[in-house]
């Protein structure tokens, strides 16, 4: 789930950068330091703006200036039970790996519907039900996160496609189409 958070970060600046455009530099350094990182609880997706940059304080000993920066950022924290779209990165007999943005997710064979089986002879190897659902490297899948584990600087997740409307994207569209057709007769013409 995405959040907008007010966060603070301490930026240190080398004395050689002291000057007129210091605030610009501090903002720049903040972006470089923080954007796209993972705190272990959430990913900082993007920084919207800086709310306040404190006065610089020279650190004794090193001469670096330290700024406390308040900023607003969009963060993403994966939750158990959340459904995310992901791209498959690797497929093997135990399951498959996919990535939802920065998050690496594993979907084990036990979390895949039993009609979808692993076909190691296909090139590339894939999980398939021998119909329209094919999961191979590069496939877009929709998965439901089943468990997450947070460590310093990284998050891991386990997901499942063993529910309705989960799995390879082509397959989901088909299902939606069928569902729609059931609810609104003559909606087949509906173009997705």
């Amino acid at each position: 789930m995405f959040f907008v958070l007010n966060l603070t970060h301490q930026v240190t600046l080398h004395p050689s950068y002291f000057g007129r455009n210091m605030h610009e530099l501090v903002t720049h350094k903040l972006l470089k330091d923080v954007e796209g990182t993972c705190t272990g609880r959430y990913y900082i997706i993007t920084i919207m703006d800086t709310v306040n940059i404190s006065e610089g304080r020279i650190l004794p000993g090193s001469g670096l200036a330290e700024f406390n920066v308040n900023y607003r950022a969009v963060v993403w924290r994966p939750f158990k039970g959340e459904t995310v779209d992901a791209i498959v990165t690797s497929v093997n007999g135990v399951g498959f790996f996919c990535e939802a943005g920065p998050l690496s997710i594993f979907v084990s064979g036990h979390m895949i519907p039993s009609d979808i089986t692993f076909d190691p002879n296909a090139t590339p190897p894939q999980w398939t039900d021998n119909e329209d659902s094919v999961i191979q490297v590069g496939t877009h899948v929709r998965v439901k996160i089943f468990g997450t584990r947070e460590e310093v600087g990284s998050i891991y997740a386990i997901a499942s496609i063993k529910e309705d409307y989960l799995g390879a994207n082509g397959c989901i569209l088909m299902m939606l189409q069928k569902e729609l057709a059931r609810m609104i007769p003559k909606a087949q013409a509906c173009d997705f």
């Binding site: 690797s90 190691p120 590339p124 190897p125 584990r149 499942s160």
Partner: protein
């Protein structure tokens, strides 16, 4: 998923079960109580007056479930007394946690790293096997692994395939980062254009920091016929890539070798996922069962556990002198002495050495490139394998302690190695030198009539040649292994499926009825048995003695070549005897004692090492004729220890440890038990002499034995004295911290000098001594102190002995150098001290001045 829970050893036995809190079939949650028990213990109680005594107390405690699940069956009853930790309840678990990803259960999504008071084992321990090619974080349990493997085997059997693990570097490709290759590729006039025109290249972007080497081009030469080979093989085998390169490197190579991902698919494992930086292991990919796996690799030492599954491939060395760019982490390759050397090869070796010394001998040499250059030039005549083996052993020793620092060091080494290639351009130098040499050769060719037969079939002076044929043999071998495997499988299948034999044998019948699928896997033959059986037919009946192939100090039976020869069915002997059929001699050393001994037996075929190598590469005993070593008539007729047999004087003979033996006197005076091999040789010499009818023992009938004793004793004293002197001498001169190598060299040479002085009287003495050794009585007692007192018995020293020639050559320079260094050091120290003293004085003066002011 039933799981038996045990009470655990931490309880105070005996305990009495007071109550079962859950019934059969009831669900239990982790950390909830399922059982109450009581135990009695002694409590120390006291009254206000300070008296204490012990009282028996009975306590009732709960037992908490370590797992989620459902109780399927209690194995205990209320009121029972239990004396030790026994399994007491069968719980059907909700989730066996058999697939885990980064500590998360892949089946239920729970965090496996959590521990609580109720569980005695970690949940992460339930899935420990890492069997996925491109992942290290994904682990599975033993059950899951065997299930997956069973599936794999069944699939392979269905398609009549086997698994083949393929190494990359020097097995199917050869890689280098030498920029010269790119230049040759661009230049159509280059003599090497033909050879390098189909070399592919790529850059590694995401490959960590490699200093200068980052962003450089990797040039990949595929082994001739690779495409066709892989296509054919892929029909019989499922291919896996297993390389010691990084993942990015492996993927790039796979892209070149197999652009459509048809052959390897995603079955690529690299150093990054291997989990061990010095060894490869089939268990990493096939944790349970390796019966259907064949390996092709150019190195067998990296597969210590899976030798019998391995087909060793002759290393593909296209870019001469480059070697394996990813081998910095591996122990050094055991090399054989090169075949008769054309100038080109010698050149390659020299540069190879230059590179290898740079990377292996670190402290003293790596610092100063000039030192390296000088060293390698000096050593280019000296055997590379000796150096390599020694350093390799050392490295291995160090590696056993296995620490992070070493790893970093090796990474740095690899970096240096790569940078070296980039900046030094060994190939360019070689080509230039080759052209120069050939020009000189042409001039000199007219004068040269019957000199060394150095032929140059390449008219365009090209350095790189594209003439490797190994893959054609390899294809045949793989097909053969595949065929034999399935032949055996088929016959077993017929037997198992109610053939007549099966009916007669109750054991077989039982297996089949057990379970259909389990049965057909049980009869699957083992490649590790099938393949060695085929291989061992190759040299069956050959009794081989090797001469000059394995460096001294290395145990013959553990050397690479010996292990291989044995795996091909040859019987290896260390000494020449009537049983021996072949003597494999190094081409550069055709006059060793063994050769001479063998030469006098018509039956023994004396061949060069290429015979052995080709036979092993073709899995077929080669005709010996083209490989026969020319043995001079003199050697055929004369006894081996005849005084006056002149030592050979070819320049590259210096690595010959056995040379000393030939000149007889030297070796035996020092009576160096150089290795087992040499000792047995000495003993073996004797019967030969009897046969020839000129046994020196005849003279002994009129021999003064007392005199010998005295003389010997005298000699022993004298020698040990002189040795002590020489050793202490060398030690003192070694005081400035030079590399151990130089030190050893010098030590040896000074010994030599000592020996030479006495050699006159000793040569006769040695002979007497030898004779004495051979007698069964009396003088045995002399022998023992002799071998003990001989002052150079350590193998290390004798290995260094092989360097003796070069050390003699270099000795002068070296000594000067060292003296110079010593002087310099002393001067510097003096300077420093003086400086310090002055400073101190100054300070003192200042202080006084300040005090005064």
């Amino acid at each position: 998923m039933g799981k038996l829970l045990s009470l655990g050893t931490h309880l105070r036995y005996p305990i009495t079960i007071t109550k079962l809190l859950k019934k059969n079939g009831e669900a239990v949650r982790k950390e909830t109580s399922i059982l109450q028990y009581s135990y009695t213990w002694q409590k120390e109680v006291g009254d206000p007056f300070g008296e204490t005594w012990k009282e028996d107390v009975t306590t009732i405690t709960d037992w908490d479930s370590p797992v989620d699940g459902k109780i399927s069956r209690w194995k205990i009853k209320e009121g029972m007394t239990i004396h030790s930790s026994i399994p007491f309840v069968d719980v059907e678990e909700d989730c066996p946690h058999s697939v885990q990803f980064h500590g998360l259960c892949g089946m239920c999504g729970k965090d496996m790293t959590e521990t609580s008071w109720s569980s005695s084992t970690k949940d992460t321990d339930r899935a420990k096997i890492n069997m996925i090619h491109d992942q290290t974080a994904l682990k599975v349990s033993q059950d899951e692994a065997s299930k997956a493997e069973e599936e794999l085997q069944r699939r392979l059997l269905k398609h009549r395939k086997l698994s083949l693990v393929v190494d990359l570097d020097q097995t199917i490709i050869h890689a280098c980062i030498e920029p010269t290759v790119g230049e040759w590729q661009a230049d159509k006039n280059s003599p090497n254009y033909e050879a390098v025109k189909d070399v592919r290249s790529f850059q590694l972007q995401d490959d960590g920091s490699r200093g200068v080497a980052s962003g450089c081009n990797y040039y990949i030469k595929m082994r001739p016929g690779l495409r066709g080979f892989l296509d054919k093989i892929a029909e019989m085998y499922e291919l896996h890539v297993y390389t010691m390169g990084t993942r990015a490197y492996a993927l790039n190579i796979a892209k070149i070798v197999d652009p459509e991902k048809r052959l390897f698919g995603d079955r690529i494992i690299s150093r990054d996922e291997n989990g061990n930086i010095t060894q490869k292991s089939l268990q990493r990919l096939f944790p349970v069962d390796q019966r259907m796996v064949v390996i092709i690799d150019d190195r067998s030492d990296v597969w210590p556990k899976n030798r019998s599954n391995l087909i060793k491939v002759h290393p593909y060395d296209f870019f001469l002198g480059i070697g394996d760019i990813n081998s910095s982490f591996l122990p050094k390759r055991e090399e054989l002495p090169k075949l008769t050397e054309t100038p080109k090869k010698k050149l390659a070796k020299a540069i190879d050495l230059e590179l290898s010394t740079e990377t292996t001998t670190d402290e003293t040499l790596a610092g100063s490139p000039e030192a390296v250059k000088k060293d390698s030039e000096g050593n280019s005549e000296v055997a590379t394998p000796v150096l390599g083996a020694r350093v390799g052993a050392l490295e291995q020793l160090v590696r056993m302690s296995g620490d992070q620092a070493l790893l970093e060091e090796q990474t740095a080494e690899q970096k240096i190695f790569l940078e070296k290639q980039l900046t030094d351009r060994p190939l360019l130098h070689m080509q230039e030198q080759l052209e120069k040499e050939e020009a000189a050769e042409e001039q000199g060719a007219k004068e040269e009539v019957d000199g060394v037969p150095t032929e140059h079939p390449h008219p365009k002076h090209n350095l790189l040649k594209d003439d490797d044929v190994e893959l054609t043999y390899l294809e045949k071998h793989l097909a053969l292994v595949h065929k034999s495997f399935y032949d055996e499988y088929d016959s077993a299948l017929i037997n198992a499926q109610g053939g007549r034999v099966a009916q007669l044998k109750p054991g077989h019948a039982k297996k089949v009825t057990m379970k259909d699928h389990a049965a057909d896997l049980a009869i699957v033959p083992d490649v590790a048995k099938v393949m060695p059986r085929i291989k061992s037919r190759t040299l069956e009946g050959c009794v081989i003695v090797m001469s000059g192939l394995v460096p001294l100090g290395v145990d013959l039976m553990r050397s690479e070549i010996a292990l291989q020869a044995i795996s091909f069915g040859a019987i290896l002997h260390t000494k020449v005897s009537s049983k021996v059929t072949h003597l494999v001699a190094s081409t550069s050393r055709t006059r060793t004692t063994k050769v001479k001994q063998a030469a006098r037996r018509e039956k023994i075929k004396i061949v060069n090492q290429q015979w052995l190598l080709n036979s092993m590469s073709k899995w077929q005993k080669e005709d010996e004729e083209p490989y026969l070593v020319h043995v001079s008539d003199a050697d055929r007729n004369r006894g081996p220890n005849e005084p006056g047999s002149s030592p050979p004087s070819e320049p590259h003979d210096t690595d010959d440890s056995e040379m000393d033996e030939e000149s007889g006197s030297d070796e035996e005076t020092a009576s160096i038990p150089a290795s087992q091999e040499e000792m047995t040789d000495l003993e073996n010499v004797m019967p030969e002499e009897y046969e020839e009818g000129k046994s020196p023992v005849d003279n002994l009938q009129t021999f003064d034995w007392g005199g010998v004793d005295d003389e010997l004793a005298e000699f022993m004293d004298g020698e040990s004295d002189s040795d002590n002197v020489s050793e202490t001498g060398s030690e003192t001169s070694n005081s400035s911290q030079r590399s151990a190598k130089t030190g050893d060299k010098r030590k040896y040479s000074s010994n030599q000098d000592g020996e030479e002085e006495d050699s006159d009287e000793e040569s006769t003495l040695a002979k007497k001594q030898r004779i004495a050794n051979n007698r069964t009585t009396g003088l045995k007692t002399v022998k023992t102190p002799n071998s003990e007192a001989s002052s150079l018995p350590t193998p290390g020293d004798t290995v260094d002995g092989e360097l003796n020639k070069s050390s003699n050559q270099e000795n002068g320079d070296d000594g000067d150098d060292e003296d110079f260094d010593d002087d310099l050091e002393r001067e510097l120290m003096e300077e420093l001290e003086r400086g310090e003293a002055e400073e101190e004085a100054e300070e003192r003066a200042n202080g006084e001045a300040g005090g005064g002011g």
